[in-house]
């Protein structure tokens, strides 16, 4: 009988984001408070009467990194996940691990939408015979985790939780279970998304979820500001190599942080609107604290989901208050989507990478574009400049991720001991 669960640590980080093509450049840009939002210059932008004509596109296009064959055989969403996974794996020291002890868990909100819609164009314009045989393996939502599993020989399982914008965080939570349950010693986990395509833009715009600041993209993503008017669509991937602590110590791996616990819940309230009191978000947060044997006062930093939508940001504040109580007043809250935009299914993964870095470097990244803090946001938001966290002692930070459908995930990380 094991009284305490296996400890799980983060030994590898990888990312390709609107701020940079890897972890170092992303982190550097985040600390200086750079916005990644730009006008879309793709040839299709003028074809449709899109109400939104800007986005936070990947800083380094996948085609600049991968071989031509890889680009042809992988949907852009899988391309991003492979790029980030390779970086994370290298960063982890390319651990030697049996295929039967290695897993992958990579979520996406939308999956291979470029492949799906391009194939439909081919079908209509050229007929069924011209639809390529790789269409199905490229469009399926599990193609990213499958590609990574194939490349690294992850034989334990290749999972792909789908929960809209909570997908990446849910995949990381699932990876924790894979290690704790004894199925795996190492899991490549995270999220990916490549949905800067006219159809998702038109669809998100139809529900009035996106900022319409076409004339001023860099100031469009403004979580917690009074004049926020929706999210800015981003793309990319974030990957963590998660590892059983004893496995990491045995091979002398560098440990970025401990992955303490995960909490999950569903609002069961509305298909898109968050439960306004934040009760569901608070349940996930408390679940993470309880299962990690943490107290609210242990938490020093939160990387909030905060997408810059009028309703969502305030609901999250309510949830944080309900989950942490008065301890919330001592918590430095960062909304990094103000810089990266909203990477949908990759958001929770990118933000987990940033949360781990905040703990390792003991500094909370800033939230940009807050000119007038919403009075309903009665929390300590890190604004403009990064803020140093206590230089000594164990620190705990949370990463929140929520998704359409009412999905709530809170992940808890701690400085490496």
């Amino acid at each position: 009988m094991t009284a305490t669960p296996r400890r799980v640590v983060v030994t590898g980080l990888g990312a390709t984001t609107p701020l940079g093509g890897d972890v170092a450049s992303t982190w550097e840009a985040a600390l200086v408070g750079r916005s990644a939002a730009r006008p879309i210059t793709a040839d299709w932008i003028g074809e449709y009467d899109l109400p939104i004509r800007f986005a936070a596109q990947a800083a380094v296009p996948a085609v600049d990194v991968l071989t031509r064959q890889e680009v042809k055989r992988l949907d852009p969403s899988a391309q991003f996940s492979v790029i980030a996974a390779r970086e994370a794996w290298r960063d982890a020291g390319s651990p030697e691990v049996e295929s039967t002890r290695l897993g992958s868990a990579i979520g996406t909100g939308i999956g291979g939408i470029w492949t799906l819609l391009t194939a439909y164009d081919t079908l209509r314009e050229k007929g069924a015979r011209r639809v390529l045989p790789l269409t199905v393996p490229m469009l399926m939502a599990n193609s990213s985790t499958a590609a990574v599993s194939l490349e690294f020989g992850a034989g334990v399982g290749a999972h792909s939780p789908v929960s809209a914008c909570a997908s990446g965080a849910e995949a990381i939570a699932y990876a924790l279970d894979m290690i704790r349950s004894g199925r795996a010693d190492v899991v490549i986990a995270g999220g990916t998304e490549a949905a800067i395509h006219p159809l998702p833009i038109a669809s998100f715009a139809a529900m009035r979820a996106m900022s319409q600041r076409n004339e001023d993209p860099e100031h469009a993503s403004r979580p917690f500001d009074s004049s926020r008017d929706g999210f800015v669509l981003g793309e990319g991937a974030g990957i963590l190599v998660l590892e059983a602590e004893e496995h990491a110590r045995a091979r002398g791996a560098r440990i970025h942080a401990e992955f303490v616990s995960a909490g999950l819940s569903a609002d069961a309230h509305h298909i898109t609107a968050p439960e306004p009191t934040g009760a569901g978000a608070a349940r996930a947060l408390r679940d993470a604290l309880r299962s990690g044997d943490l107290q609210p006062s242990d938490v020093i930093h939160v990387n909030a989901h905060a997408t810059s939508t009028p309703i969502g940001d305030v609901a999250e504040v309510q949830g944080l208050r309900a989950g942490l109580g008065s301890a919330l007043d001592q918590v430095a809250v960062s909304a990094t989507k103000s810089m990266t935009g909203h990477l949908l299914g990759a958001a929770g993964a990118i933000e987990s990478v940033l949360t781990v870095l905040a703990l390792r470097e003991r500094i909370a990244p800033p939230t940009i574009n807050i000119d007038d803090l919403d009075p309903a946001v009665d929390i300590d938001v890190v604004r403009k400049d990064p803020r140093p966290l206590p230089a000594t002692g164990d620190l705990v930070a949370l990463n929140n991720a929520f998704g359409f459908g009412g999905h709530n995930v809170s992940l808890a990380f701690r400085t490496a001991g």
């Binding site: 071989t67 042809k72 015979r129 390529l132």
Partner: protein, 81 residues
């Protein structure tokens, strides 16, 4: 109408694009499966692209008889004729 040499080089480009194999490794006597290590999914992709490039139709029942690059070149040349 393309010559057999033109068909071979066109096919080599398609195969290179799909698999990354150098174009000069695509020779008439090479077997798609044994020598070039092309799986059935890649073979179908190559067929779709060849049909488009050479304006021919290669029915599935004929694809299985195309064992070598030379088989495919002859087939396409005949189908064009």
């Amino acid at each position: 109408m393309a010559s057999e040499q033109e068909i071979l080089s066109g096919l080599a480009e398609i195969i290179n694009e799909e698999t990354g194999l150098p174009t000069d490794s695509v020779e008439l006597d090479k077997s798609f499966t044994e020598d070039l290590d092309i799986d059935s999914l890649s073979m179908m992709t190559i067929v779709v692209n060849a049909e488009e490039k050479f304006s021919v139709r290669i029915p599935d029942e004929d694809v299985k008889n195309l064992k070598t690059v030379g088989d495919a070149v002859s087939y396409i040349a005949q189908a064009q004729g």
